[in-house]
Every structure is written in C-alpha cells, then in structure tokens.
Subunit: 289 residues, 2 copies
C-alpha cells in the first residue's frame, strides 16, 4: 500500500472489508465508501474543504444533546430522512402514511403520561384545539392500549427543550388508547416556525440561501405490540409553508383542517367548550408480518 494513488485508494479501502463476515454491513459500507469517494473525486475536494467539513461535523456534535439532535436536523434538511421514510413508508390500505421523527423527539421515559381526554394547554397561549380519533388496524378495528407519543411547539415557535418560557415537558405527552382504540387531548394549534438557526445546520442553510421554515404540525410516534411503530406528523392544511417544508416532511394524507366547533353539543361530545377548534384523525397501524 506504500504506492497507493488517488486512482487506487478506493479499491485499497474496499479490499480491507472484502472478507467482512456480516454481509449487510459489508454491502452498506461498500456503497457508502464508494459514494463518499466518488463525491470527493467529483468535486475535487481540497484539503481545506475537507477540514471545513470536519469542523462542521464537530460543531454538529457539539450542538447535539438529549433534547436536540443536530445530526437528525442535518439529515432532515438534506432530504436523507425523507428519502429513507418515503422508501419504507408502510402506508397501504388503511395504514397511515409516515413522516419524519425530527430533531426534537425525546425518548418516552421523559414524556409525561396523559389520560385520554387530558389537557396539554396548561399555561400556554394560543388557539385552543381538541385533537381526537382512534388507532386502528388497516381494516379499521380498534387497537386498545396503543401508545401515542405526542410533541409540538408552543406559541413562540419553540419546542420545550429550546424554550426558556416553559418548563420541561411542555406540550409533550404519551397517551394510551382506551378499549375502543380512542385517543383525545386538548392543546394549542401549533404554528409555523424555523428549524434552529443557532447551530451549524442553520449556518449551512443560510450559506445555501435556503429558508428554514416548517409548516405547523403535531408530531406522533405510535406503537402497539404486534404492529410496526408509526412515526408521523399532522400538518395544518392551510399553512403558507405547506409546499416548501425545509425538511421535506409534508405528505398529502397528513394535512388536516382545524375546524371551529360550532355548537355546545359538539363541544360537549369532545369534552370541551365552544371556541375550541377540532381536529379528528384516525391512525392505522401496519401489523408486523
């Protein structure tokens, strides 16, 4: 290898994993190495640009903490997350379309449990809304005890982990469906916001002249024994940014209307008063084969 050249280096690297015993890992790494090398060759990446890339990655690492994953944000803004999601979307028949996890998901242990019909509004400003529906099989049969993890931003556009105005757990919860597969909670209507500009990914977006706006949405991660977990988002259908999402997460079947409740009877049926908006959505989970 003492005579390796720019023309032979890729083959020399691939040779070192030619006998790797795990075939899937070998296939993934062979493809990754080949494409990263092809990229560096195609643009004739200079040592200075390589160092800038290393420094970018170091800053992404520094910006990443439990409550914010800047690597996911980088993957999201480069459309890699969307490609992986779209390629493995399990929506078919009555199963719901998936979307992105995003950088602000927090593992379930830090999510507050909330009963069906519970309230997330607390001291948040914003337009009150009740969100209700069922978790079902693709054929529409209720799934009792399915776990919904739910998270969204506040009226200031921030998720709790980024938000000095609110305490930990604001506008996050986990909820188990009742015996008829139902879930329901009150919250505020989420608002459009920019993904964080204060980290390296924000700096990258600005350098590229790209906006950072996401249309308003509520995140869901829904799991139940015997079903594939569903990671998805519900989007405010008339949001101005719906067709220019900075992370490519919008899917037509996930657009929902926030309809104003018109009567005391309808409000009572959802456990709220007049003046609330209403979102109804049923989630279909795909059974594990």
């Amino acid at each position: 290898m003492r005579n390796v050249t720019a023309d032979t280096i890729t083959e020399a690297v691939l040779q070192t994993i030619a006998d790797t015993t795990e075939p899937r890992l070998r296939r993934i790494m062979t493809s990754l190495i080949s494409h990263l090398h092809a990229f560096a060759r195609e643009v004739d990446l200079t040592p200075e640009e390589w160092m800038a890339a290393i420094e970018f990655l170091v800053r992404v690492g520094e910006a990443t903490k439990t409550e914010r994953n800047e690597f996911i944000l980088a993957s999201d803004t480069l459309g890699i997350s969307a490609l992986v999601d779209l390629s493995h979307n399990r929506a078919s028949g009555g199963a719901t379309t998936s979307s992105l996890l995003g950088p602000f998901y927090i593992n379930g242990e830090r999510m507050q449990p909330l009963e069906v019909g519970g309230d997330l509004i607390g001291d948040n400003d914003g337009e009150p809304v009740v969100v209700a529906g069922r978790v079902t099989t693709p054929q529409g049969a209720p799934i009792a005890g399915a776990c919904l993890e739910i998270w969204q931003n506040a009226a200031n556009g921030l998720y709790e982990s980024e938000d000095p105005e609110h305490g930990p757990g604001n506008l996050r919860c986990k909820m188990l469906t009742d015996d008829e597969g139902r879930y329901r909670f009150t919250t505020i209507k989420p608002i459009a916001y920019t993904v964080p500009y204060d980290g390296p990914v924000g700096t990258m977006l600005q350098a590229l002249g790209r906006h950072a706006w996401r249309p308003a949405h509520i995140h869901f991660r829904i799991s139940a024994a015997g079903y594939h977990p569903l990671i998805t988002e519900l989007f405010v259908a008339d949001d101005a940014h719906i067709d220019t999402d900075a992370v490519f997460g919008v899917r037509e079947p996930l657009l929902v209307d926030f309809r104003r409740i018109e009567s005391a009877e309808e409000a009572a049926a959802y456990g709220v008063t007049e003046g609330y908006a209403l979102v109804t959505y049923d989630f279909g989970l795909q059974p594990v084969a």
Copy 2:
C-alpha cells in the same frame, strides 16, 4: 411538495439550492446530496439502519475533544482523508510528499517550543534517536524560520492526550529552523500502535473485521511564509505494518531508516552520544504560486 415521492425527493432537495449564490458551495452540496441519496437508494437503507447511522455520528461527536478528533479518525479509516491528500499532493521536483494529519494533532498554541537540537525524550522509555535535516525550497535552498510542529506516540503506544503515564505535551513540540534551514531534535523511536478501539470508530473497525494497526511514524506539520503548509509523516521503513496501514497514510518517499550511530565523531556531529539511532530527512516546501 406535498406529493413528493422516493423518486422525486432528490430533485426536490436540489431545487432548494439551485439559486445559491456561491457556486463552489452549490457544486459541493449538489454532489454530496446526490451521492448520499444514491447511497441510501442503492442499499435501500431502512429507518432502523438510518437511526443506527445517526447514533453512530452522535457517539463520534461525544468521543471528539480538543486532543482527539474522532471525525478525522472516521475519515482516515474510510480512506477519505487519504483520497483528498493524494489528490492534492504538492510533491513534485524537490517538494516533499504529504500524508495525513490524523486525529491527534493539537493546534500550535498547546505545542511546547523547542530549540534546534532540543530534547523530547525527557522521562520516556524507548530507543533514543536523533532526527535532523533541513527545510528547503524545491531547489534545495534553505528556508530559515520555518515552523515544524512535531508529534508522535510514546513507548506505550499512546499519544499524550490518551496517555495516563505522561503529562500534557509529552513528545510534542514546535521548532523553528535556524538560518541554514536546519532542524534537529532527540526523541524515542516511535512504535506501531492501534488507532483507538475505545470509541465508535474502533467499534466500526471491529464490526468490519478490520485491524487498527498503524506502522510507527512521526508526524510533522511544517509551515513558512510564502509556502504551502506541508502535513506529512515519516515512517519506520521496516515496520511490519508498513503495507497495511489502517488509515492508508504510508507513502514510499516517507519511509526512513533508523540507522545506529557507529562512532563518537558522528554522534558528536549530531549533539548526542553513541547508542543513538539517526534519522536524516530534508523537507521541501512548495511555494505559493
């Protein structure tokens, strides 16, 4: 974009940077996005594998500190650093071949200054050696006041930042060449070692069934006003790992003999006593065009 699919997502992402004003950045990011998407498509990367990749990057970030750059180690072990180096090597005529920076470089401010003829051995065990030569133009004219940054491992195989036996700055220094372009220092002969196994890159190498050995070497970064900085390494020519360097850094012109000094006269000429080994090497710097 609400109807984006796995087939159209790449074009949708590229469209967002089509009007970026900095053409070099646009070219680099267009190629990077295209190749990362092509990789994900080629292996049909699953959401679980994507999450494993994100978690790997988070761990690389956590392992990175001032004294150790795990992102550089990842780039080195995947041969990306070598490709960039080989593609931009400025060796020609009398200019010296470059090699890799590696993960253990520390910015000059933390490197102890050492006079020409100074000693790096201190309390280190190992085979004593004197390293001497000149820094010159490609035509062999001396460059006075060139700055050499020098770093290597100890007899236990560790760089000081990883080494509980030695204090900060062990076997690191910076040295300015004298009026005749000369440098000289005493040190111990470096030894072959493995790049760190205790971080995520080590875990990756083990999963791939790859060894982590590097042949023994001394690192140099040499800079002088009006010349391109030279990052290179001198390798122990008869090291058993010389043709299987885990990071693909060996270059034939950088192999050096550690010859035993035979006479008191020769030793005196290098400011040492009999029993030292001798390495002589002249570095040629390429002028900035």
